[in-house]
């Protein structure tokens, strides 16, 4: 009986190691080789997008897409677009406060000389990927 105990222990250890190896290999297979357990494969083929039917066109002459306010010499064309005073109706979203013009894109920093307002972690010219 005393000789069988070490044998059983050894068997258990071997089984445990084998299980661990199996689990590790399984993880490797399921992640497809992308590190930390995941393949970079977040969507299946069904999420290749549907044909959106844009080719037929639908844009009228003033169908705008871009930002609504330009802060430079065209800034005067920005205006308060909150229509709640004139045409009160329910918005499912919370409209921006009345009187606040819609913001524009970030300024032309670094080469344009603007100052980034957002992201307090930036410390001015010379810091960032362009330098």
């Amino acid at each position: 009986m005393t000789a069988r105990a070490p044998l059983r222990l050894c068997s258990l250890l071997l089984a445990g190691a084998a299980m661990a190896a199996l689990l590790g290999l399984t993880g490797c297979a399921t992640d497809g080789g992308y590190g930390y357990g995941y393949d970079y494969d977040y969507v299946g083929p069904e999420y290749v997008g549907p044909d959106v039917g844009f080719d037929s066109g639908f844009w009228g002459p003033d169908y705008y897409i871009g930002p609504g306010y330009f802060p430079g010499p065209y800034g005067e064309r920005g205006h308060d677009h909150d229509h709640d005073h004139d045409h009160p109706h329910f918005h499912p979203y919370r409209p921006a406060p009345s009187g606040r013009p819609p913001p524009s894109l970030p300024h032309g920093f670094p080469h344009g000389g603007g100052v980034p307002r957002a992201g307090g972690g930036f410390h001015g010219r010379g810091v960032g990927p362009h330098h």
């Binding site: 992308y34 977040y42 969507v43 639908f58 979203y93 980034p116």
Partner: protein, 326 residues
């Protein structure tokens, strides 16, 4: 504790140790690639609501690599992503996009697409909020080395989008350089409810840019043009789509170019289709919608630098089937 229990405990400990040891070894063996961080050096600042990363799902990576490389000057680094081919595109050394090769399903009626990832401080919390407001998860939150934690969802209208919490923070919040992404537009049949959804998830300020103009129509009713803003910067637009039967809701991402006219003409020469010919957009920028050689929709936009004060871009002859030069 009996002998049997000790033996079992020991075996469990050994198994756990082996398991912990196996992953790094296996990762090293397979040469696990690491995605480049979104920004280097780290900014450690995130601008929630900003679209900070873009992935293209395409059935023909080589074709699209050549196309975008020739059009925008992008260079690439192969990431060898397991079963799939994934490359990261760089614009002047700055990582701007990923291109992931995926087969097109055989059912037809589908196209490759660009997928934008919106920055958030907490992917899990944003995911939870999105699901509570009618979204569906496509890919649950995953951690990627150096990149960060990200997830992919469909919004209540079924439009795919991603969210990401970058490990190193978001890129500096400057005006995009040519070759970098500058704008995102969501075309949808339910603009106001979609605005509410994205506001609930990402905390946007929502501005109504309705022109109240008779011309601002699509031929089937007034348009809705909303702007999503965060940190006092415009991040994206939400535009209403006409003809619910004919068109599907979709995010479209825009790359900044020196001239939308020149970019559209060049793209056409490289095999793209011009979906919306270059035209003047709000406040001096010009915009065009294109479909790359694989069929993925994207936009180009020239935008006058606010400090240079030049709003009028060059206007070569008309390109494409719709619209035309002003």
């Amino acid at each position: 504790m009996g002998r049997k229990a000790k033996v079992l405990l020991t075996a469990a400990l050994v198994a756990a140790a082996a398991l912990l040891a196996s992953e790094p070894l296996l990762a090293a063996k397979r040469g696990a690639p690491v995605l480049p961080p979104l920004t280097s050096p780290a900014t450690n600042v995130r601008q929630a609501g900003r679209v900070v990363w873009h992935d293209l799902l395409t059935p023909d990576l080589a074709v699209d690599e050549r196309f975008y490389g020739a059009l925008f000057g992008w260079t690439y680094r192969d990431m060898h992503s397991g079963r799939h081919t994934y490359v990261v595109a760089f614009a002047d050394g700055v990582p701007v996009a990923g291109l992931l090769e995926r087969p097109l399903p055989r059912d037809g009626g589908r196209r490759p697409q660009w997928l934008g990832f919106i920055s958030t401080d907490d992917v899990d919390a944003a995911m939870h909020a999105a699901l509570e407001h009618g979204a569906r998860d496509v890919s649950k939150p995953h951690d990627y080395p150096q990149r960060g934690r990200q997830a992919v969802l469909q919004d209540p209208q079924g439009v795919a989008f991603g969210m990401i919490s970058s490990t190193t923070g978001d890129p500096p919040d400057w005006l995009a350089e040519p070759g970098q992404w500058i704008w995102s537009a969501l075309f949808t049949h339910d603009a106001e409810n979609e605005a509410a959804f994205y506001q609930d998830v990402f905390g946007y300020d929502v501005y109504d840019l309705d022109d109240s103009s008779d011309d601002a129509t699509t031929g089937s009713g007034a348009v809705v043009h909303l702007e999503l803003a965060s940190h006092d910067y415009a991040r994206a637009s939400i535009n209403s789509l006409p003809d619910a039967q004919a068109r599907r809701s979709r995010w479209v991402q825009f790359v900044r170019v020196e001239s939308a006219w020149s970019a559209a003409a060049k793209a056409q020469a490289l095999g793209a289709r011009v979906v919306l010919a270059p035209r003047v957009d709000r406040q001096g920028g010009h915009i065009a919608l294109l479909a790359d050689p694989s069929g993925a929709l994207f936009g180009v936009m020239d935008w006058p630098d606010s400090d240079e004060g030049s709003a009028a871009g060059p206007a070569p002859p008309s390109v494409g089937p719709h619209g035309g030069p002003p």
